[in-house]
Symmetry: D2
Subunit: 352 residues, 4 copies
């Protein structure tokens, strides 16, 4: 049997950064780590070295636990930070609330206390609405504030905004979790090292996203404050997130974070989103609805335009009621992709 290619390797859309494949340097790294035997479940040479790689980015206290996917990283991290009776404060739009089929509740028994955040960002004022009731046994105890960077809405917290949230949380004995499925995009936008808006801002635990950043698959629970967690290695195993051939996760992270691939990929994706925003901003009938600070453009446009565009390019309607759409770019989006799409948007709007 000869395996056949079943897709067009030159066709790209704007639906999700998950639609992209694997960066070639990552595939090379996997091949490099192949061959011979290595101890499984994380005692291999690549995973051992990985800690050094993560510490260079997140500080000397950081420990990384590779897992399979973002939901896994979030749920393992949040379990490690909470008692069985605790609750987690998050935005209504948070991935843990919206897109994980209830895994935080169902696997970890975590109650989510949600807050409306039109731009996807929590603030100390919003958090204050749920930050009360400690010691009252009738109330699941607010113990963690979980934020997403960059947010599900393509926006980005400043280091100062994160620091203010951490300061408030810690003052109340709460901890801060950061869902960093697109953490690299934030660093690229902010132009600062990763630790400046994580470790240095007071974040306790984060999920580092490798998949959307060009890996085949792989995320990591990164513990920044060892005092904030208990039992991560057991929780990872019991949450079915421990890879046997771990070397192949770890070497991908090394390929990403050992040099600047993580930043190149993210910066490129961000630039493509900005390019798209620049091309369509101001077109009559189209309104960009969120700041474009990462690799997503959110916009409202007439539904008939959306329908015609979706016949030509793949992307998602975000809000059926308002007609808002989401256009995402990835590490492999090209300028030509953007220009063709931007032109199509303009063209379809004209015909509306």
């Amino acid at each position: 049997m000869t395996l056949q290619r079943r897709h067009d390797p030159e066709s790209r859309g704007f639906a999700s950064d998950n639609y992209a494949g694997v960066h070639p340097e990552i595939l090379d790294a996997i091949a490099l780590a192949n061959g011979g035997h290595q101890i499984s479940y994380g005692e291999d040479a690549y995973t051992e070295h990985l800690q050094e790689v993560f510490r260079r980015h997140f500080g000397e206290q950081a420990t990384a636990y590779p897992v399979f996917n973002g939901t896994g990283a979030n749920v393992v991290g949040l379990q490690a930070m909470t008692e069985r009776w605790d609750a987690v404060i998050c935005a209504e739009s948070a991935h843990i609330n919206v897109d994980e089929c209830g895994a935080p509740e169902k696997v970890a028994g975590i109650k989510l206390l949600t807050l409306p955040a039109p731009d996807g960002k929590l603030t100390p004022e919003l958090i204050a609405r749920h930050a009360w009731g400690w010691g009252d046994e009738h109330r699941a105890q607010p113990r963690v504030v979980s934020i997403t960077q960059t947010t599900e809405l393509g926006t980005c917290y400043s280091p100062q905004e994160i620091a203010a949230i951490c300061e408030q949380a810690h003052r109340h004995g709460m901890k801060v979790h950061l869902d960093g499925a697109r953490l690299a995009n934030a660093a690229a936008t902010l132009g600062v090292p990763l630790r400046e808006f994580t470790t240095d801002a007071g974040v306790d635990v984060l999920s580092f996203g490798g998949t959307k950043n060009g890996m085949l698959l792989g995320e990591a629970v990164v513990v920044l404050d060892p005092g904030a967690v208990r039992g991560v290695q057991f929780l990872r195993k019991a949450a079915m997130q421990l890879a046997s051939k771990m070397r192949f996760l770890s070497v991908q992270f090394e390929a990403l974070l050992g040099g600047d691939l993580w930043l190149r990929n993210a910066a490129h994706a961000n630039a493509m989103a900005r390019r798209l925003a620049d091309e369509v901003r101001g077109l009559p009938g189209l309104q960009i609805t969120q700041e474009v600070q990462a690799n997503a453009v959110f916009a409202v446009l007439p539904k008939d335009v959306t329908e015609r565009l979706q016949k030509r390019f793949r992307f998602y309607t975000w809000n059926e009621h308002t007609g808002e759409v989401r256009w995402m770019t990835a590490f492999d989006t090209t300028e030509a992709d953007i220009d063709a799409f931007g032109a199509a948007v303009a063209e379809e709007l004209r015909e509306s």
Copy 2:
């Protein structure tokens, strides 16, 4: 940065088939599926085609749900087969009981009713000890019998043995789950198609193991009887086992199962175990303790011999009390590996 190799690609041991890497044909398949955009979470062209591949092996009713690892496959499958108040009957030595950090209990709330099985195999007589009490609300309801093929002890059920278990289970309204982390090894040993001891024997749901069979990572929940499960796709997601870039799991399975790679790999690993058994059987002071029907040799030998051997080759002591050891072979074990190891065993025994 140039990534460096951190291990010897020519060094192999006998500790676990998880210590092996990725078969080159699998890596090629991953590369083939790369490039361009594909819908994430399983709506890609490779996953679509995958159903056909699995149906060729398991029958027209089979549906495969790729997941990340064996624990994930088992827990998703068992959840789909059980109500919240059910129990699962298994051998004490079952992976779900021994090696999953309590994931069946902790993620799925499943009570395990365990049975002593010195050769790792359940029998209708053993199962009968727990097969009672339906309708009694004080007792978690026995709803599933879970067996492992080949077993954790390197033994293999015959198709008739599995059929007898299925017949008994179904008669009581129970279903049969099969942990097939090494299902390919069983087909190689038995010399029959996969369906002969699964679908045709009455198994309802199985976990198909790709990782130990040469994949980078990937297992599949394979539903053989659609009436035996509910909500697999939701349970997979909520159990954090849904890959975003699913095409890269699916194409590995296609590379494995589309042709005969699965069988070549398993047959080779099995042959290497038999070769090792043949070489050491009859050596004074060494006793092989289980039938060698897959890719493992279990043996008792003097502890000082084990200690000296473990300084030269990597393998695990299985039972500290009896001095039993486990030697595993993999798809990449060579005859030279076996001969060198066999010679070392003989040599160290002579010096004992």
Copy 3:
């Protein structure tokens, strides 16, 4: 040892209907059921008869499962109505969301989809915000709408309002759960039989509250549509809500529901709340904030007045920010209690 009374049996406050004791007729019933042996766990003569009692109120298909407390009733009922991957839509103010320490999430893995409802009542329009996404595995599946009657805010749905919610839910394949911790108060307010706003309105499962209605303890999961649930008796046991000496729960329900004690108690408590509302309504500086349709009065008054009143009578501040307080009456509240309290409110307001 002679046991001593440690409290004043004539002192009553306005904090909660849970602060009241047991109605004397209930104590008599417990004594009546005492003596001799009766099969435990619900196969006694009182529990057997109980089904007839509940069916008289809720229709021929109703089945009642006595449990210990309201949280237990809600969580058992909701589990019986949901798959492992489902979600429940409820008001932000719902007891299941606010006052159960996360039991629905932690015991049952249920995701709650909450809605703001200033008067505690859901509407089809509100529900519509969460009633979407069936079939999408990334979203916990909205399967149940849970409403509270009378609500946590002392308001009462009309039979028509409940019927409209049920109609909408059923149209979408969802079921309706009703937390009836104060169901009797609703019947008293509406002046209709219990079934008119439950069974006949389309409710599938409800929690019937005995404790606040004058029992020592006891609630019941009442299944109105047998097709809406699975495994209630197993779930009750596994949720640790199955009483061994069940006859003493069942006979209390019989004392309550066999005659009109349930209605007398509820009507009296409601009347006392209305009497209080009538006495304080219009007092300068005091604003009643919710319709008084059950046994609670919600009001805003100056904080210094509240503080002085709380030194004289026990009641809770409901909202620290707005100064809203909650005054609850019980089956044993007397007109004299109300008049004394009403006078005190007026007096303290005058001194403000």
Copy 4:
């Protein structure tokens, strides 16, 4: 409506101590605590005083948390002693393993590591079989040893036996939980204070059983070592075991434990079992199978005898295969009950 008695208050059997009703002194206590308002959820005068009562029996560090039933007490206690990834070692015959519909697994995610114990009693030698593997993330971590006193088989640990188990457990960093559903029966048998085989022997947490000891309902999680638990009050609430009208649980415990009612009831039940054993021991065809150290007699007798006896008296067959039966006595069993039953046993055996 006048409530009617539906059972014969003079009829008693030998099926279970749960079939008995409420001791009259307990009913009096409930009546005493009635009337007026008391703060709910445990801040009442009776619950406050209760700590003193329990401390007199269990030492100055003891804290009691009343709950509804034995499963609730066990699951709340075990949760408070374990991390999410822990396991509990117990006898196969333990109530937590056999009779709780999987509540430890399903509510708390606890993996049970069971051991065969023909007399219901664990020993350090048995425990050693599971006492290993700490630090290995693949294994649910053995953290608690749970024993039952008196056991489910009517046998009784000596203080020394319990001390030896505690010593072993603590040496390994494990804690000891004691299911004391019949703890009073043990004290009566041993003739020593309760603390001598609990607190003083090294037990960390126990479930104290009130229901079988004559209460209407009520058990207590009693924490003997405050350092062995976390979050009991939250876990009790989230496990749906927090009574609103708590005073009525607490006053029952006070009636039981404030004087000697607990001991009178248990000693009487024990004496009745011994009387029965004495009457039937040596009858041809009947074999007593367990030491009679509490309120149960286990015996093997011909199946036709059992069948005829069960038409005249209610009791359970314990083991269908061996024909073993269980005869239980209660606080209200009379000498006449025993003599009538003993005579019947003799009579039916003669006719066999």
